[in-house]
Subunit: 296 residues, 4 copies
Amino acid sequence: MVQLGLVGLGKMGFNMRERLRAAGHEVVGYDRNPEVTDTASLAELVSALDAPRIVWVMVPAGDATRETVLELRELLDPGDLLIDGGNSRFSDDKKNAALLAEKNIGYLDVGVSGGVWGKENGYGLMAGGAKEDVARAMPIFDALRPEGPREEGFAHAGSVGAGHYAKMVHNGIEYGLMQAYAEGFELLEAAKVVEDVPAVIKAWQRGTVVRSWLLDLLVRALDEDPELDDLEGYVEDSGEGRWTLEEAINNAVPAPVISAALFARFASRQQDSAAMRAVAALRNQFGGHAVKKVGE
Amino acid sequence: MVQLGLVGLGKMGFNMRERLRAAGHEVVGYDRNPEVTDTASLAELVSALDAPRIVWVMVPAGDATRETVLELRELLDPGDLLIDGGNSRFSDDKKNAALLAEKNIGYLDVGVSGGVWGKENGYGLMAGGAKEDVARAMPIFDALRPEGPREEGFAHAGSVGAGHYAKMVHNGIEYGLMQAYAEGFELLEAAKVVEDVPAVIKAWQRGTVVRSWLLDLLVRALDEDPELDDLEGYVEDSGEGRWTLEEAINNAVPAPVISAALFARFASRQQDSAAMRAVAALRNQFGGHAVKKVGE
Amino acid sequence: MVQLGLVGLGKMGFNMRERLRAAGHEVVGYDRNPEVTDTASLAELVSALDAPRIVWVMVPAGDATRETVLELRELLDPGDLLIDGGNSRFSDDKKNAALLAEKNIGYLDVGVSGGVWGKENGYGLMAGGAKEDVARAMPIFDALRPEGPREEGFAHAGSVGAGHYAKMVHNGIEYGLMQAYAEGFELLEAAKVVEDVPAVIKAWQRGTVVRSWLLDLLVRALDEDPELDDLEGYVEDSGEGRWTLEEAINNAVPAPVISAALFARFASRQQDSAAMRAVAALRNQFGGHAVKKVGE
Amino acid sequence: MVQLGLVGLGKMGFNMRERLRAAGHEVVGYDRNPEVTDTASLAELVSALDAPRIVWVMVPAGDATRETVLELRELLDPGDLLIDGGNSRFSDDKKNAALLAEKNIGYLDVGVSGGVWGKENGYGLMAGGAKEDVARAMPIFDALRPEGPREEGFAHAGSVGAGHYAKMVHNGIEYGLMQAYAEGFELLEAAKVVEDVPAVIKAWQRGTVVRSWLLDLLVRALDEDPELDDLEGYVEDSGEGRWTLEEAINNAVPAPVISAALFARFASRQQDSAAMRAVAALRNQFGGHAVKKVGE
């Protein structure tokens, strides 16, 4: 059994603390929210742990993660190990690792997949960093990952940054998968040839080529709301899809499906599209085609 | 100077009659609208023309065109020539030609481009059919097409159907061109780096690689409404874009730009997207991500 | 236990006969291939069955299916039931059903998913047709479908055509899913940030959002050939993807992901692209950009 | 008449010098290529000009431009003006301007469009920077831009960076336009319904909605090589398309057409596609579908 500091007890961190404790590990958590935190401050968290420490950071990517890394850099001791398990851009990792290396603090970046189901099912994990740091944190990884062969729920993806890179691509793929099911759902709804759309989608759960965990979740959503009309077709995106596309550009890799999925999200958030106003204006100009005026 | 029967005096046909008459040709027009027609019926139109006749049909594609062809088949004489200048699907042409050939009536299909500007500028023309029929109708084509070398405004594209096929592909390209400008416009509007977007687009009219007639029309639209916010981003599609995509599928030709342009129009007409409701539902299921409920 | 005639003993039909017999049903099979057939002719197959008969047709979609339906129409008796389990276009079903209805022969269309794994795992099934015909064939469906709750591996999708429609959309989704994984794989390969790509993909099998049966198959493929470089990036398409896109067009449903996946297959089969020759020519014309001449 | 220093006398700079001299301006050029340069060094160029100087930099974007800016920063005097007319990323401009401002040297960024035709036709120009700097350089802009109203060939797009931003979006649009024509060309070639494809495209030059300068260039290319089969479908991309897409991502603007055009270029340069190998492998795994093995 190992001891772990865990910074960030939101939707993900909170559940991870539960899963780690259920596995018998000692977790000292810190969060700004007094209702969930175990310690009053980062400093208190660090002093509650025996050196050499492992501190897992699970806070929002970007500024919040960087600030936490910088704070912990001052608090931790040489030989300690910091793990960034958030959805950080892989390009942040090398900087974080270098900042910590100056103080002889180790660094791992870990992509964590599984969402709110991870507490129960375990989390898929992709780690980047030095072999010995990975080995040191392995008891934690083993507790967090799903049951079954280790290599089916955990990978040491490469050196620093590779864990978040793998997670980024994972999420890019996820965008594409979701959009593929979504287009099929919309076509079934629109065509009205299939009379019981939720029944058909439910029947895809066993034996078919398209069976997947995301399909199971779509079935779950349709069980609750068979036409999904309680909610709006408004979809956020959280960074990884954009980064995947940027990396596709940087590596000259065609990514038509992942980009289409991202653009569909962008479009879903627009009340009106300037592009389509331009197309409407052009059609009106050359063909005298009717346009919809605002307020009509 | 030749004599021509012209069936269908809507936005296109009306202007074509003007242009043909201005060129000195004799045009006898028929339209169901008594305010624009020259004759009271198709029969009257046919008897007003000297055999061998040329009758140009300019009515909506599909049923209306087929019915007109069938009516004229009964009224015309062997040796007459019928020209379908509407936006018919190329696959209708062979059927029309065969129906007319039974009575020894000739057939040409002609794609006509240029919209409301054609009266003044002339129309781009693409014809399909027999060489001798094309030659026979050439005085009409020469009057309708723009000034300048014939081959820059008129083509004999091939046998029956080829004219409409060429026009179909022309329109598919047109969808892509419009969407390209539209995406650029939206990006300029959104990024707010360029301060005077209409001025930049106006400055693309001379010297640049993107100069075109569509760009000139966009400049015109922006002159009237600099942010295009009098109108809604709602865009119809009129058949040729869909047919182009179907033909791309039939010929295993990748058409990512033309399809993206068509799909953007489909999406522009949706109040809400079932697909994006599905994606929102999935994100909510796995990640507990917030969704927008209807009415919120 | 029921009795079934099964026409077509190829990759799919052969395995289905095995699975049905293993479940205790009596199957009389017919195939033109003498090595696998049970009977010498369709007529012999029909006479080997007790009326009222059920005959399952599992031959290639299109002409082969239509011919088999027409032949069986002459051989079967009123009250018999024909099931088309092939990958037929849904629009063929109404015609087939009408042809058979003239002789009081029932008709069901059934989409069958699962590929070569169905013999062992069971097949996902989507049926279209009359309720009483579905009920009558249910013992066969129960034997073919995977173990578990019936509704997770079988759906009565609606009236005639709905089964194949559901299967068509299933396959359209499948195209999108495969392309999403493929783009992610290519990016991982190209970027070389992740050092052990197959290990990362294997680690996605448990706990992650992207876990699926297709992912398991990708892991299997990578186990055999870690860079997939024994094979060429040449991919056929078999109809359903095209039909799905045609239906998206007919129903004005945006399908950017499914179309992108289809176009990627088209492009994969081209030695050289006429479109890209045109782009190269244009760049050369305006910018004097170098082009690759054939043979250089 | 004004005096101008011009650094970089490649395809673009060389022609610009010609056009400026033809308009009566005094141009002192510098290039590393001794065959085209007027001066032996940047220092010599600077001393050949009377203060306050204007120096136009026309060298490859990125490092070469930055280095030239840094060199000129040491050579120029307060009150001089540097213009970057290359295809620089807009994000470089603010840095360049700040570096020069430290020495009280002014800065304009100018997007220049028109390719090898600009010498004759004039160049479309988009400038970013201070109003007074734009006014100062206006005689040069007026000589470079095409004849006709100034606002149809020149725009002051906004503050520093806006000129290159406008040019970037211009090029993104250009990618989309070229791909639209290219898809149409490929479909016409593949379908073989139109018998004389070059004749049809030539006939689009007058009167049609798709007429444009790019279309004129396509006609020119087809005049030289009617099936474009002297060259390969291999297309480079030069930065602006990628940047446009990155900016679309940053601004959450859907850009399906521009991205499709970019990805088509990426794909055109691949001998084989890892993505499509993955799809082929998946189809083989689930369906036993044949794959092409390397070397077959």
